[in-house]
């Protein structure tokens, strides 16, 4: 096995992104690069990487087998990955998969005889609003129909190559929206380049912030009462203030761009259309927390986003924003939902299996490479320039008490206008969102339920949706705002199937570290499969609930709850549907 | 010389018959007990298990003669079983087992020794058996045989008194101690048992005979439950079988005594069986009658053994000393009065 000089040089450059004694962190990057070149990661590749980084081969092998994007066997030249998660299933991805299998004449994960294609189903691709979707190698194809699929496959067959797909046009704002973060993207001619961003007043906040003391910035952010937009809703300023001081160790800032919650596709928009907003937010935050290095952990399924960010960072470096005391590096994930959990993300960033860490210690004390670390969501960081620019008081005028500012929400499922929207928090109810903003359900269907914050949040029945969209109101309604991914279920949806789909997602994404989640998620999936086949037995529903309850709250990381809550909610709220299946 | 030859021949015949009867008593005992318990009993050796005694004897003879290590006085230990068996065989010599057999031109008396004081000889000799048991108990040098020996001597001494006293009324009536005379008397008159004033004597005699022969319900010297096997615990093979033989021979002798004293010996109360035989056939018939009567008593022994449980030792001694001895004395007086008033006829 020989690695071309060019590639090795690239690899050597990547390795410098990490502290010299922590080069293990480059494992994921190296895996990506070698897989891109060789098509798969076999023994030779694993040994090469372990030699390169001075690791034991098992360290690399563990990583390779953990992340679904890495393959140990050669795939076809074009790897067709169809999203099978809830939003896409609601939009008919099963038909697409069946059609593809028929057309290419292969089963899942089999290579066509000509070596061109392999079909796989994958978990959420964060394009839920435009489902069904698929990725072929690094290109995404949205709003699929069987005709469209035919055309794509035929074109690849005839030309023998894959066309680069352009970014779709950004969605125009609805009158009920208040766009702050998304204010730039629909401006005419706005491309997201540094020049465009600066023209719209970009990087003024950075200049302002650099003139401030870090403590002042932290105070300002604290005062804005901005809560984390990742899912847990922890106040951002408070998080920063917990950072261990005087340890003598460097401080790291990590931007969590591992947007993998099914139904959520908001960060993708920010990264794709306005990357400099994020970069400015990161630079300000680094200044505030005293970080010299920031990593953007972007999920592996967004190669386009990674490229955009890298380009933007180069632009910013050319202008001296980046590299002048603060470095920003892009770190690609490789398809693990668990990396959305901050300690799992840190482990993954360190080049290991994304096993969430036990807490305490918290990352603010012992985080990335054993140093104090702040992990913030993309949307949270994108808010920072606005807060600095216009002040925390201005920020607090938006939204309601306890949920300040605006929020990006993503709507998917059978509504007329799915997509991403930005609202002041608490100023709009779920009903308004679905029926006014999104134009109601398609084809005269009726509403059956709504999952209000990504698939891990408890479902709400159709009569519960008169609730304002903010953290507290949703919590009082028995669910959570989560990551803002709203999945709409209409009356044609089989709840058992939907529960199975969600359970399957969590069983697939369970990292396998701690017992309840490792064993419980797969058990729930198997049970639901059985119930769906109509082989349910009496007391199965109770058992399902109990198994979910046994996972809930017993795990290392919140994925336990994430897997348990939807099942518990579906079982309690739609019990009769389960009983129809014999459960 | 002729007397010696004839006597030796009689002894030989008598011993042969006696030992055969004893052996078959064992067979009978096992058979009867089996029947009473709804079983079949010995049935493997020969037809109806008739060869069983032979097999038993053979086994006994072939068995290793174990001499336990703790036996210190080997002579006494060996003497024990001999003393238990020999007296029983000796007493048989005084009992008339028929009238006479006309054979080779002679009238051969069917008794080894026709003694004047035959009854006394019988009692005296049979008392020797207790020495055997006491010796066995002592020489075994072991606690169970010892206890068995002690019990046995006490029991036999006690009941010997009753045994002897109980038959005094019979002598009083007959006026002789010769057993031949007794049979003769009964052939001329009637059997003692048909004289109601002799009934108490018979009852006490038969019960005492049970006690004297260590048979149930008075088999305390060898009480299995308490004393393992009493005086014969430490014995095996031929020595053990000598005890066995002695016990059954004693049973035979006691039965013979009862037959002779109360049931007319070899006679039947009609001709030609009520006077001494004139032909060989009648003589042999007398012997058969005598054996048949004994058989009935042997059956009685067996019957009672498999029916009645063992009495307690204090009950046994109380019965002997407190009831039987006074009773026999009263009986003597009573029969004396009867005889004085009615002359016994």
């Amino acid at each position: 096995m020989t690695v071309p000089v060019e590639l090795e040089r690239h690899i050597d450059e990547i390795v410098t992104h990490y502290p010299p004694d922590k080069t293990r962190a480059a494992t994921l990057w190296l895996c990506h690069l070698l897989q891109e070149y060789f098509g798969f990661l076999g023994d030779e590749q694993v040994l090469w990487i372990s030699n390169k980084l001075g690791l034991q081969p098992i360290n690399v092998w563990e990583v390779v087998t953990f992340y679904p994007m890495f393959t140990t066997k050669p795939h076809g030249k074009f790897h067709v990955k169809v999203c099978r998660t809830l939003s896409c299933e609601l939009c008919g991805c099963k038909n697409i998969v069946a059609h593809l299998r028929k057309k290419l004449g292969v089963g899942l994960d089999e290579n066509t005889t000509d070596g061109l294609f392999t079909i796989s189903t994958v978990e959420c691709l964060a394009l839920c609003g435009t489902g069904p979707v698929m990725m072929i190698n690094d290109e995404t194809f949205e709003n699929l129909t069987t005709e469209k699929v035919d055309a794509i496959i035929d074109r690849i067959r005839t030309t023998g190559r894959l066309d680069a797909q352009p970014l779709p046009m950004p969605l125009a704002a609805h009158p009920l929206e208040k766009r702050v973060l998304l204010s730039n993207i629909t401006k005419p001619g706005y491309t997201g380049s540094l020049a465009d961003y600066e023209r719209e007043g970009g990087y003024t906040a950075l200049r302002k912030a650099l003139a401030m003391k870090p403590d002042e910035i932290v105070a300002e952010v604290k005062n804005s009462e901005i809560r984390g937009r990742g899912g847990a809703g922890f106040p951002c300023g408070l998080k920063w203030s917990f950072l261990a001081k005087g340890t003598g160790k460097p401080v790291y800032l990590v931007c969590n761009a591992d947007e993998s919650e099914p139904g959520t596709f908001k960060d993708r928009q920010l990264i794709s259309y306005d990357p400099h907003l994020l970069i400015e937010g990161i630079l300000i935050s680094c200044h505030a927390v005293g970080a010299k290095v920031a990593y953007i952990y972007i999920r592996g399924e967004m190669p386009g986003g990674a490229k955009i960010l890298q380009k933007a960072i180069e632009e910013a470096r050319a202008k001296g924003y980046v590299g002048n005391g603060v470095e920003i590096y892009v770190h690609r994930g490789a398809g693990a939902y668990i990396c959305g959990e901050e300690t799992g993300l840190i482990e993954s960033l360190e080049g290991k299996r994304a096993y969430p860490r036990i807490k305490p210690p918290f990352p603010a004390v012992v985080g990335l490479f054993g140093c104090p670390t702040v992990v913030n969501n993309v949307e949270t960081l994108a808010n920072i320039p606005h807060i600095i620019n216009k002040g925390s008081t201005w920020f607090k005028t938006m939204g309601v008490s306890g949920s300040t500012g605006t929020r990006l929400v993503c709507v998917s499922g059978p509504v007329k206008r799915p997509g991403y929207y930005e609202f002041e928090m608490g100023k709009l109810t779920l009903r308004q969102l679905i029926f006014d903003v999104c134009g109601g359900l398609k084809d005269g269907r009726t509403l059956k339920g709504v999952i209000p914050g990504g698939s891990s949040m408890p479902v709400m029945k159709a009569d519960q949706i008169d609730v304002p969209l903010d953290f507290e109101s949703l919590r009082k309604a028995g669910t959570m705002a989560g990551s803002g991914g709203i999945i709409v279920l209409d009356d044609s949806v089989d709840i058992v199937g939907a529960t199975l789909n969600v359970a399957q997602f969590y069983a697939h994404e369970s990292c396998g570290q701690c017992t309840p989640c490792r064993e419980g998620t797969l058990w729930m999936e198997k049970m639901l499969h059985r119930i769906e086949r109509g082989e349910g037995r009496p007391l199965d529903v109770e058992m399902l609930y109990e198994v979910a309850d046994n996972i809930d709250g017993k795990t290392i990381c919140p994925l336990g709850e994430a897997a348990a809550w939807p099942v518990k909610a579906f079982v309690t709220k739609y019990r009769e549907e389960f009983e129809k299946h014999g459960g | 010389m002729e007397f010696v030859v004839i006597t030796m021949a009689k002894i030989a015949v008598m011993l042969g018959v006696l030992l055969t009867v004893v052996a078959y008593t064992v067979w009978l005992e096992r058979k009867v007990c089996a029947w009473m318990q709804d079983r079949v009993g010995p049935n493997r050796v020969g037809p109806f298990g008739l060869l069983q005694p032979l097999a038993d004897g053979l086994k006994m003879m072939l068995k290793e003669d174990v001499l336990p290590r703790h036996i210190t006085d080997k002579a006494l230990y060996t003497l024990g079983p001999l003393m238990a068996m020999v007296p029983a065989l000796v007493t048989a010599g005084a009992i008339p087992w028929g009238s006479q057999l006309p054979l080779f031109g002679r009238q051969i008396q069917c008794v080894v020794a026709n003694l004047n004081a035959a009854v006394l000889v019988v009692f005296a000799t049979s008392s020797f058996a207790v020495y055997g048991i006491v010796l066995a108990g002592w020489a075994s040098n072991s606690k169970y045989p010892f206890l068995g020996g002690v019990r046995s001597s006490a029991q036999m001494i006690s009941y010997e008194v009753c045994l002897a006293l109980s038959v005094v009324p019979v002598f009083m009536q007959i006026g002789s101690l010769s057993l031949c005379h007794m049979v003769e008397y009964q052939t001329h008159h009637t059997w003692m048992i048909f004289m109601p004033w002799q009934w108490p004597s018979f009852l006490i005699f038969i019960i005492s005979a049970f006690a004297e022969t260590n048979r149930t319900p008075f088999d305390l010297p060898e009480a299995e439950q308490e004393l393992v096997a009493g005086y014969n615990t430490e014995y095996s093979s031929m020595k053990f079988s000598m005890f066995f033989l002695g016990e059954y021979a004693a049973m035979f002798v006691m039965s013979a005594m009862m037959v002779t004293l109360f049931f007319g010996g070899w006679s039947l109360p009609f001709a030609p069986f009520n006077r001494p035989a004139t032909t060989l056939w009648i003589g042999l018939a007398h012997v058969a009658i005598f054996l048949a009567k004994i058989l009935v008593f042997l059956f009685l022994y067996i019957w009672i053994r498999w029916t009645i449980p063992r009495v307690r030792y204090d009950q046994l001694m109380a019965l002997g000393w407190k009831i039987f001895i006074p009773l026999t004395i009263v009986n003597i007086v009573f029969v004396g009065i009867v005889l004085a008033l009615w002359g016994g006829r």
Binding site: - | M36, Q37, W303
Partner: protein
Amino acid sequence: MLVQRPKLTFWERLYLPQVLQGLWQTLSHIPRKKFTRQYPEEKPPLYGKYRGAPELVRDPDGRVKCVACQLCEFVCPPKAIRVVPGFRKEGASDASVEKEPSDFIINMNRCIFCGFCEEVCPEEAIFLLRDFSVSGYSREEMQFHKDKLLELGGVREDKIQKWKNK
């Protein structure tokens, strides 16, 4: 506690009527039907749950069911069982079951046919079958080894076949 002795009547105290009654009782049994069974020629009938000698069984596919867990050895009250654990031969269809006794010895001199081994066996491999007259001419002969036990036990047709769906 004092037990009041029953007051006996004169006849009872005399004891003789009871003796006669007893004598009649035993005598009356003499002509009755006998229960003796002529054993070696006439075998006794064995009923459902009869517990004879413990023996090893094979499953319907002819495999040794015992996996040498030694629980029977542990539970055996007279310590009659001795198991020598060993490896199962490779390549068989049941290779996932790695263990079987290389020898299995039951000392029939000691065995009391209590059935604890059958009860404790997690693999349903040992059963108290119908052999009740276990005899031999030497102590050595009474040590039943694995092959003999398996031959005596034969194949047991039952539904429990754990290996099939392991």
